[in-house]
Protein backbone atom coordinates (compact mmCIF):
# COMPACT_ATOMS: atom_id res chain seq x y z
CA UNK A 1 0.00 0.00 0.00
CA UNK A 2 1.64 3.22 -1.17
CA UNK A 3 -0.69 5.63 0.52
CA UNK A 4 -2.04 5.40 4.06
CA UNK A 5 -5.15 7.32 3.02
CA UNK A 6 -6.25 4.17 1.16
CA UNK A 7 -5.80 1.95 4.20
CA UNK A 8 -9.08 0.52 5.51
CA UNK A 9 -7.98 0.69 9.17
CA UNK A 10 -9.58 4.03 10.14
CA UNK A 11 -12.84 3.17 8.44
CA UNK A 12 -13.05 -0.19 10.21
CA UNK A 13 -12.19 1.44 13.51
CA UNK A 14 -14.74 4.25 13.14
CA UNK A 15 -17.68 2.13 12.05
CA UNK A 16 -17.16 -0.11 15.06
CA UNK A 17 -15.44 -3.19 13.68
CA UNK A 18 -13.10 -4.52 16.38
CA UNK A 19 -9.60 -3.80 15.11
CA UNK A 20 -6.26 -3.74 16.90
CA UNK A 21 -2.74 -2.77 15.92
CA UNK A 22 -0.15 -5.52 15.54
CA UNK A 23 3.38 -5.92 14.25
CA UNK A 24 2.85 -9.05 12.11
CA UNK A 25 6.56 -9.95 11.74
CA UNK A 26 8.57 -7.55 13.82
CA UNK A 27 11.86 -9.04 12.71
CA UNK A 28 11.06 -8.83 9.01
CA UNK A 29 9.40 -5.42 9.09
CA UNK A 30 11.74 -3.96 11.68
CA UNK A 31 8.72 -2.74 13.57
CA UNK A 32 7.40 -2.75 17.12
CA UNK A 33 4.12 -1.80 18.77
CA UNK A 34 5.28 1.77 19.38
CA UNK A 35 6.05 2.16 15.67
CA UNK A 36 2.57 0.93 14.77
CA UNK A 37 0.87 3.33 17.17
CA UNK A 38 3.13 6.17 16.04
CA UNK A 39 2.11 5.73 12.40
CA UNK A 40 -1.55 5.33 13.31
CA UNK A 41 -1.62 8.51 15.42
CA UNK A 42 0.20 10.55 12.78
CA UNK A 43 -1.60 9.22 9.72
CA UNK A 44 -5.11 8.78 11.11
CA UNK A 45 -5.12 11.35 13.93
CA UNK A 46 -6.37 8.86 16.51
CA UNK A 47 -8.35 10.36 19.34
CA UNK A 48 -7.73 9.38 22.96
CA UNK A 49 -10.89 7.26 23.06
CA UNK A 50 -9.77 5.48 19.90
CA UNK A 51 -6.39 4.78 21.48
CA UNK A 52 -8.10 3.29 24.52
CA UNK A 53 -10.46 1.31 22.28
CA UNK A 54 -7.53 -0.17 20.32
CA UNK A 55 -5.96 -1.37 23.55
CA UNK A 56 -9.23 -2.90 24.70
CA UNK A 57 -9.79 -4.55 21.33
CA UNK A 58 -6.43 -6.25 21.57
CA UNK A 59 -7.20 -7.78 24.95
CA UNK A 60 -10.93 -8.50 25.29
CA UNK A 61 -11.23 -11.25 22.62
CA UNK A 62 -8.63 -13.24 24.54
CA UNK A 63 -10.97 -13.60 27.50
CA UNK A 64 -14.22 -14.16 25.65
CA UNK A 65 -15.83 -17.56 25.50
Amino acid sequence: MKDYSRHPFPEYLRIGIPVALSTDDRGMWDSNMTDEYFVAVREFNLSWSEMVQLGRNSITPRFRR
Binding site: Y4, A20, L21, S22, T23, D24, D25, R26, G27, M28, W29, D30, S31, M33, T34, D35, Y37, F38, V39, V41, R42, E43, N45, S47, W48, S49, M51, V52, L54, G55, R56, N57, S58, I59, P61, R62
Partner: protein, 184 residues
Protein backbone atom coordinates in the same frame (compact mmCIF):
# COMPACT_ATOMS: atom_id res chain seq x y z
CA UNK B 1 7.24 6.60 3.79
CA UNK B 2 6.15 4.83 6.94
CA UNK B 3 9.43 3.08 7.52
CA UNK B 4 11.60 6.16 7.01
CA UNK B 5 9.33 8.16 9.22
CA UNK B 6 9.46 5.57 11.96
CA UNK B 7 13.23 5.19 11.65
CA UNK B 8 13.63 8.92 11.97
CA UNK B 9 11.59 8.96 15.12
CA UNK B 10 13.42 5.98 16.56
CA UNK B 11 16.85 7.54 16.26
CA UNK B 12 16.04 9.77 19.17
CA UNK B 13 17.38 8.89 22.52
CA UNK B 14 14.11 7.54 23.55
CA UNK B 15 13.43 6.83 27.03
CA UNK B 16 14.96 9.15 29.53
CA UNK B 17 15.61 12.54 27.97
CA UNK B 18 12.61 12.40 25.70
CA UNK B 19 10.35 11.35 28.53
CA UNK B 20 11.67 14.16 30.66
CA UNK B 21 10.97 16.78 28.03
CA UNK B 22 7.62 15.13 27.42
CA UNK B 23 6.66 15.50 31.02
CA UNK B 24 7.83 19.09 31.05
CA UNK B 25 5.50 19.70 28.14
CA UNK B 26 2.64 17.96 29.87
CA UNK B 27 3.27 19.96 33.00
CA UNK B 28 3.05 23.15 31.00
CA UNK B 29 -0.44 22.17 29.90
CA UNK B 30 -2.12 21.03 33.02
CA UNK B 31 0.38 20.45 35.78
CA UNK B 32 1.03 17.20 37.57
CA UNK B 33 -2.26 17.05 39.39
CA UNK B 34 -4.07 17.87 36.20
CA UNK B 35 -2.22 15.10 34.40
CA UNK B 36 -3.19 12.53 36.99
CA UNK B 37 -6.78 13.70 36.87
CA UNK B 38 -6.83 13.85 33.09
CA UNK B 39 -5.64 10.28 32.74
CA UNK B 40 -8.34 9.14 35.14
CA UNK B 41 -11.08 11.06 33.38
CA UNK B 42 -11.80 10.19 29.74
CA UNK B 43 -13.05 13.65 28.81
CA UNK B 44 -10.08 15.63 30.09
CA UNK B 45 -7.66 12.99 28.86
CA UNK B 46 -8.93 13.46 25.33
CA UNK B 47 -8.52 17.25 25.62
CA UNK B 48 -4.98 16.74 26.82
CA UNK B 49 -4.22 14.32 24.02
CA UNK B 50 -5.55 16.68 21.34
CA UNK B 51 -3.33 19.48 22.67
CA UNK B 52 -0.41 17.12 22.94
CA UNK B 53 -0.74 15.92 19.32
CA UNK B 54 -0.67 19.53 18.13
CA UNK B 55 2.39 20.60 20.08
CA UNK B 56 4.51 17.44 20.49
CA UNK B 57 7.55 16.87 18.33
CA UNK B 58 7.81 13.45 16.65
CA UNK B 59 10.24 12.28 19.32
CA UNK B 60 7.97 13.43 22.12
CA UNK B 61 5.07 11.60 20.50
CA UNK B 62 7.21 8.49 20.07
CA UNK B 63 8.38 8.62 23.68
CA UNK B 64 4.79 8.98 24.89
CA UNK B 65 3.63 6.03 22.78
CA UNK B 66 6.60 3.97 23.93
CA UNK B 67 5.56 4.45 27.55
CA UNK B 68 1.85 3.95 26.85
CA UNK B 69 0.37 0.53 27.66
CA UNK B 70 -0.70 -0.68 24.23
CA UNK B 71 -2.60 -3.87 24.94
CA UNK B 72 -1.56 -7.01 23.12
CA UNK B 73 0.31 -7.69 19.90
CA UNK B 74 -2.17 -10.21 18.53
CA UNK B 75 -0.64 -10.88 15.16
CA UNK B 76 3.04 -11.66 15.48
CA UNK B 77 4.55 -14.71 13.80
CA UNK B 78 7.11 -16.56 15.83
CA UNK B 79 9.29 -17.22 12.78
CA UNK B 80 9.19 -13.53 11.86
CA UNK B 81 9.59 -12.20 15.38
CA UNK B 82 13.35 -12.66 15.63
CA UNK B 83 15.55 -9.88 14.35
CA UNK B 84 17.99 -10.84 11.63
CA UNK B 85 20.85 -9.84 13.94
CA UNK B 86 19.75 -12.46 16.48
CA UNK B 87 19.66 -15.20 13.86
CA UNK B 88 23.01 -14.08 12.48
CA UNK B 89 24.66 -14.23 15.91
CA UNK B 90 23.09 -17.59 16.75
CA UNK B 91 24.18 -19.08 13.44
CA UNK B 92 27.75 -17.91 13.78
CA UNK B 93 27.83 -19.28 17.32
CA UNK B 94 26.85 -22.68 15.90
CA UNK B 95 29.62 -22.36 13.36
CA UNK B 96 32.15 -22.44 16.19
CA UNK B 97 30.64 -25.78 17.19
CA UNK B 98 31.14 -27.31 13.76
CA UNK B 99 27.98 -26.29 11.92
CA UNK B 100 29.35 -24.38 8.95
CA UNK B 101 26.66 -22.78 6.80
CA UNK B 102 26.81 -21.63 3.22
CA UNK B 103 24.35 -19.27 1.58
CA UNK B 104 23.56 -18.71 -2.07
CA UNK B 105 24.66 -15.33 -3.34
CA UNK B 106 24.69 -15.77 -7.14
CA UNK B 107 23.00 -17.71 -9.91
CA UNK B 108 25.39 -19.02 -12.56
CA UNK B 109 22.85 -21.14 -14.47
CA UNK B 110 24.39 -24.38 -13.28
CA UNK B 111 21.11 -26.26 -13.55
CA UNK B 112 19.38 -27.00 -16.87
CA UNK B 113 15.95 -25.63 -17.68
CA UNK B 114 13.02 -27.56 -16.24
CA UNK B 115 13.51 -27.51 -12.48
CA UNK B 116 10.57 -26.94 -10.16
CA UNK B 117 10.65 -23.34 -8.96
CA UNK B 118 7.56 -23.98 -6.84
CA UNK B 119 9.05 -26.91 -4.96
CA UNK B 120 10.88 -26.91 -1.65
CA UNK B 121 14.23 -25.89 -3.15
CA UNK B 122 13.72 -23.43 -6.00
CA UNK B 123 16.96 -22.94 -7.92
CA UNK B 124 16.42 -19.22 -8.49
CA UNK B 125 16.03 -18.44 -4.78
CA UNK B 126 18.98 -16.53 -3.29
CA UNK B 127 20.12 -16.81 0.33
CA UNK B 128 19.19 -20.44 0.53
CA UNK B 129 21.35 -21.90 3.30
CA UNK B 130 23.18 -25.21 3.23
CA UNK B 131 25.19 -27.03 5.84
CA UNK B 132 28.77 -27.77 4.82
CA UNK B 133 28.01 -31.47 4.27
CA UNK B 134 25.36 -30.61 1.66
CA UNK B 135 27.53 -27.91 0.12
CA UNK B 136 30.22 -30.55 -0.39
CA UNK B 137 27.84 -32.58 -2.58
CA UNK B 138 27.41 -29.72 -5.10
CA UNK B 139 29.34 -29.58 -8.35
CA UNK B 140 31.95 -26.86 -8.87
CA UNK B 141 29.57 -24.59 -10.76
CA UNK B 142 27.02 -24.70 -7.95
CA UNK B 143 29.69 -24.27 -5.30
CA UNK B 144 30.67 -21.01 -6.96
CA UNK B 145 27.16 -19.71 -6.23
CA UNK B 146 27.57 -20.06 -2.48
CA UNK B 147 29.55 -18.27 0.21
CA UNK B 148 30.22 -19.16 3.81
CA UNK B 149 28.02 -17.06 6.09
CA UNK B 150 30.94 -15.49 7.94
CA UNK B 151 32.46 -14.46 4.60
CA UNK B 152 29.50 -12.13 4.03
CA UNK B 153 30.96 -9.82 6.67
CA UNK B 154 33.39 -7.91 4.47
CA UNK B 155 30.78 -6.07 2.44
CA UNK B 156 28.35 -5.87 5.32
CA UNK B 157 30.87 -3.78 7.27
CA UNK B 158 31.04 -1.15 4.56
CA UNK B 159 27.30 -0.84 4.38
CA UNK B 160 27.02 -0.69 8.12
CA UNK B 161 29.15 2.45 8.18
CA UNK B 162 26.62 4.26 6.01
CA UNK B 163 23.69 3.27 8.13
CA UNK B 164 22.38 5.43 10.94
CA UNK B 165 23.30 4.48 14.49
CA UNK B 166 21.59 1.38 15.87
CA UNK B 167 18.26 1.82 17.58
CA UNK B 168 18.76 3.46 20.91
CA UNK B 169 16.43 1.86 23.39
CA UNK B 170 16.06 -1.65 24.67
CA UNK B 171 17.54 -3.30 21.60
CA UNK B 172 20.98 -1.89 22.26
CA UNK B 173 22.45 -5.09 23.65
CA UNK B 174 21.40 -6.99 20.56
CA UNK B 175 22.42 -4.60 17.82
CA UNK B 176 25.81 -3.95 19.36
CA UNK B 177 27.10 -6.85 17.29
CA UNK B 178 28.94 -5.54 14.29
CA UNK B 179 27.97 -8.55 12.21
CA UNK B 180 25.47 -7.85 9.47
CA UNK B 181 24.49 -9.88 6.44
CA UNK B 182 25.52 -8.27 3.20
CA UNK B 183 24.10 -9.45 -0.08
CA UNK B 184 27.03 -11.44 -1.30
Amino acid sequence: MGLAQRREARQLHVPLQALQSLFQLARRFIGWAGLAFALASPCLASDWFEDFKKSATPDQLYAFLYALPKGGDLHNHLTGAARSEWIWDATLAQEKRGYVNYTKVAIHNCVPYGGNEYGRAPYMLLFRNLLAANYAKLNDCQKSEYKRLQDLDARGEGRLAQQPAPRPSRMKAVTSSSARTGNG
